[in-house]
């Protein structure tokens, strides 16, 4: 009798041990989902707020595309926008939501998806992996434009880059890589993505092969590697080279250029900023004056307010949202500039003319030509500035032009005080949020 009880007891213990493994598999909360399937992880990438939307605003606020009046300045709710606008050396981030946090939040989504694909051995995930790699690279490139100086091949080994977080594990300490390592990461990820991605995607919120190649062209252009900028630009246009004919747009629309139009390679937008809002950010008269009256951009990009100040309405969003879309018009300009830098003036002007004839009133555009490399570059860079307004690119362009000796000095006058940003100033690398520096012990951008 005693033995039977003993055996039963042993059996019970055995069962309870077997039961244990089930118990451990149980989720602590039934609402917790583990994204183990392809669909789940694609859904993570498709949640646009955490991927392609909420792009950085710091560069756009700091660049010379826009200005605000003293009265506008006096209406700014957030101190950090005032400080960014006047190029203060530090305390230029909101303490709750800022570009740094937004970049690394989006990077973390990509890292999570890449980890899941590998960890759960998800089959058929080439496309998804390509999306995550391409997007992560695009975000690192975006963050480098805000928080790092221009890429300079001679000093990139020692210049401060970004902490390269490639794993969703938040216990890994953050350390700043060199600028060379940062750009290498971007390039390698984009190149790998290009081999995994289909030429086009079913939706423009997903990076395609054309997107990855387009970003490669942009990255190499920023680095001053014009041979590669040209090569990848041409490959991008080989997949997709559509341009909007501005003659088909209606300049009297409040926002004439529609969202996800035929030029867009990746749909992405800036986070809302009061300073950059449609009624506050103003375009300098001198820039507006560079548009010919037959140039349709003059009426499609701009509107005048009651005080006859110039406001921008040419967002690739069909609305007030400021876009940072990668689009074919930028690639045309990358290719044209690269040709010019490589001293192929004829081809440079040819591709620029292809773009501009879609921007002018039908029959009015006289193709431009240049007699020298300098003249071609001069024309192309002016047209680049006129075409790519409010796309978050001017800040990067200012950095690289100054790196190459353009000597562009920026100036703002607010309430009688003049603020100046000399060429190649260290403030071209915007201060990393102070709490991040304090928490991680990483070096702040020098001042």
């Amino acid at each position: 009798m005693k033995n039977i009880f003993l055996n039963l007891f042993a059996l019970c213990v055995l069962f309870s041990i077997i039961g244990c493994s089930d118990f451990l598999d149980e989720k602590s909360d039934s609402r917790l989902a583990t994204p183990v399937t392809l669909e789940d992880n694609q859904a993570l990438m498709d949640r646009t707020f955490n991927t392609v939307l909420s792009n950085s605003i710091s560069g756009q606020i700091s660049a010379d595309e826009i200005y605000i009046t003293d009265a506008d300045y006096g209406n700014l709710i957030n101190e950090f926008e005032k400080r960014l606008y006047t190029w203060q050396p530090g305390e230029v981030s909101s303490s709750d939501e800022n570009d740094w946090g937004s970049c690394y939040r989006r990077i973390n989504v990509c890292n999570t998806v890449l980890y899941n694909i590998d960890h759960y051995q998800i089959a058929g995930a080439e496309n998804l992996k390509g999306q995550a790699l391409a997007l992560r690279a695009a975000i690192y490139l975006e963050a480098a434009q805000v928080y790092c100086l221009a890429y300079n091949g001679n000093t990139a080994n020692t210049d401060l880059g970004l902490p390269l977080r490639l794993d969703p594990d938040m216990n890994i300490p953050s350390k700043r890589s060199s600028l060379k390592e940062t750009y290498n990461q971007v390039i390698n990820d984009l190149k790998e993505a290009a081999t995994l991605l289909p030429d086009t995607q079913i939706a423009l919120i997903r990076p395609s092969k054309a997107t990855a190649l387009g970003y490669l062209s942009r990255t190499y252009l920023f680095m001053g590697d014009y041979q590669n900028a040209l090569e990848y630009g041409k490959q991008t246009l080989g997949i997709h080279n559509d341009l909007i004919d501005f003659n088909t747009l209606n300049p009297s629309d409040s926002y004439p250029i529609k969202s996800m139009n035929t030029e867009v390679l990746l749909h992405s937008s800036m986070v809302y900023s009061q300073l950059l809002s449609s009624s506050m950010a103003k375009i300098p008269q001198s820039l507006y004056n560079t548009y010919d009256n037959n140039d349709l951009r003059k009426s499609i990009y701009f509107r005048l307010n009651t005080a006859q100040q110039i406001l921008f309405k040419g967002n690739y969003s069909g609305g007030a949202t400021r876009m940072t879309c990668l689009a074919t018009d930028e690639i045309y300009l990358n290719v044209a500039e690269s040709y010019a830098r490589l001293n192929d003036v004829t081809k440079a002007m040819q591709i620029l003319n292809e773009l501009l004839k879609k921007r002018w009133k039908t029959g009015t555009y006289i193709p431009m030509s240049a007699n020298s490399q300098d003249e071609a570059l001069d024309i192309i860079l002016k047209e680049r500035r006129k075409e790519l307004l409010f796309r978050g690119l001017r800040w990067s362009d200012l950095k690289r032009y100054n790196r190459d000796g353009a000597g562009i000095s920026l100036q703002r006058i607010i309430n009688g005080t003049t603020h100046t940003l000399p060429p190649n100033d260290l403030r071209y690398a915007i201060a990393i949020p102070e709490d991040i520096i304090k928490m991680t012990g990483m070096p702040q951008n020098p001042r």
């Binding site: 300045y73 006096g74 709710i77 101190e79 304090k438």
Partner: protein, 284 residues
């Protein structure tokens, strides 16, 4: 995360006393509840220690201070150096010097060194005092509650909110307008422009911190119980007529600003209204 980020220790004492103060034709019974509560941070591993991390603007619960040896929820404020007699700008201290560099004061990396510490943000002594006085068929219940030993931050004018969302405050009437006003007011002048750092400094400054101590009259209830013999013809056990009033307000408070510290969380929090009720209570 794989580790705890902090450690704390709390201790307290609850006392309940029931007394019969008078036990004759008039009966007076009391129940006294008295609690003491103290806690303190014993470990804290998060290194963020900017001044503004310890100060949250008016109308919010105090943030966890994370200073070892101090209460978990403590009230800190920017040190106050008065209003600038020329402009009515609020002034604080930066590295021991009078300063108007609000962004630097808010982001001072010295943490609590540049701040004034008041004490716990939650009551450390509290309880209730409930009395019942009975005479013949009448009885009167008086409920009193009290909270002592804590601090709170009151709200005041925030000019950025005023400009951006027309969210005002009655302190606007007391603002500095002319030189000399700084002698009787601490409310900064209207800058006619946004300066969120200036507003954050003033709203987190020591002049807006008040003692929370107060005594509250929670309720009064008057009962009349009918005699059992009068109910003989009715199918009921007992019958009471009562009149009561709830949320009667504060009997005494330490702050001179006229603010009920229990209903100071958030700009829009309202005191509960006083309710009156009369009724019949019976058991079958």
């Amino acid at each position: 995360m794989l580790w705890n980020v902090a450690g704390m220790k709390g201790h307290g004492l609850d006392i309940e006393l029931k007394t019969r103060n008078i036990d004759k034709a008039i009966k007076w019974n009391s129940i006294i509840n008295f609690s003491i509560y103290n806690d303190k941070v014993t470990n804290y591993y998060l290194p963020t220690t900017f001044a503004n991390n310890f100060v949250v603007n008016s109308g919010s619960i105090a943030p966890i201070s994370g200073i070892v040896g101090l209460p978990v929820y403590g009230v800190f404020a920017y040190k106050w150096a008065g209003l600038d007699p020329k402009t009515g700008d609020p002034q604080g201290y930066l590295n021991g010097e009078v300063s108007k560099d609000y962004t630097k004061i808010l982001n001072s990396a010295k943490g609590i060194e540049d701040l004034e510490y008041f004490g716990s943000a939650i009551p450390t002594k509290y309880g209730s005092f409930i009395n019942t006085v009975a005479y013949r068929q009448f009885s009167l219940d008086v409920g009193i509650t009290y909270k002592f030993g804590y601090w709170f931050r009151r709200s005041s004018i925030n000019y950025t909110d005023l400009i951006s969302s027309r969210d005002g405050h009655s302190d606007y009437a007391k603002r500095w307008q002319n030189p000399g006003d700084e002698l009787w007011t601490n409310v900064p002048s209207n800058p006619y422009t946004t300066n969120s750092a200036r507003d954050a400094f003033y709203n987190g400054s020591s002049v807006l911190v008040e003692r929370g101590d107060h005594i509250r009259l929670q309720y009064l209830t008057l009962n009349y119980s009918f005699r059992k013999e009068n109910l003989a013809n009715l199918p009921i056990q007992n019958l009471q007529l009562f009149a009561s009033a709830n949320n009667l307000g504060i009997l005494w408070k330490a702050n001179k600003a006229g603010i009920d510290p229990d209903y100071n969380w958030g700009t829009y929090s309202l005191k509960p209204v006083t309710t009156y009720s009369i009724g019949l209570r019976t058991q079958f």
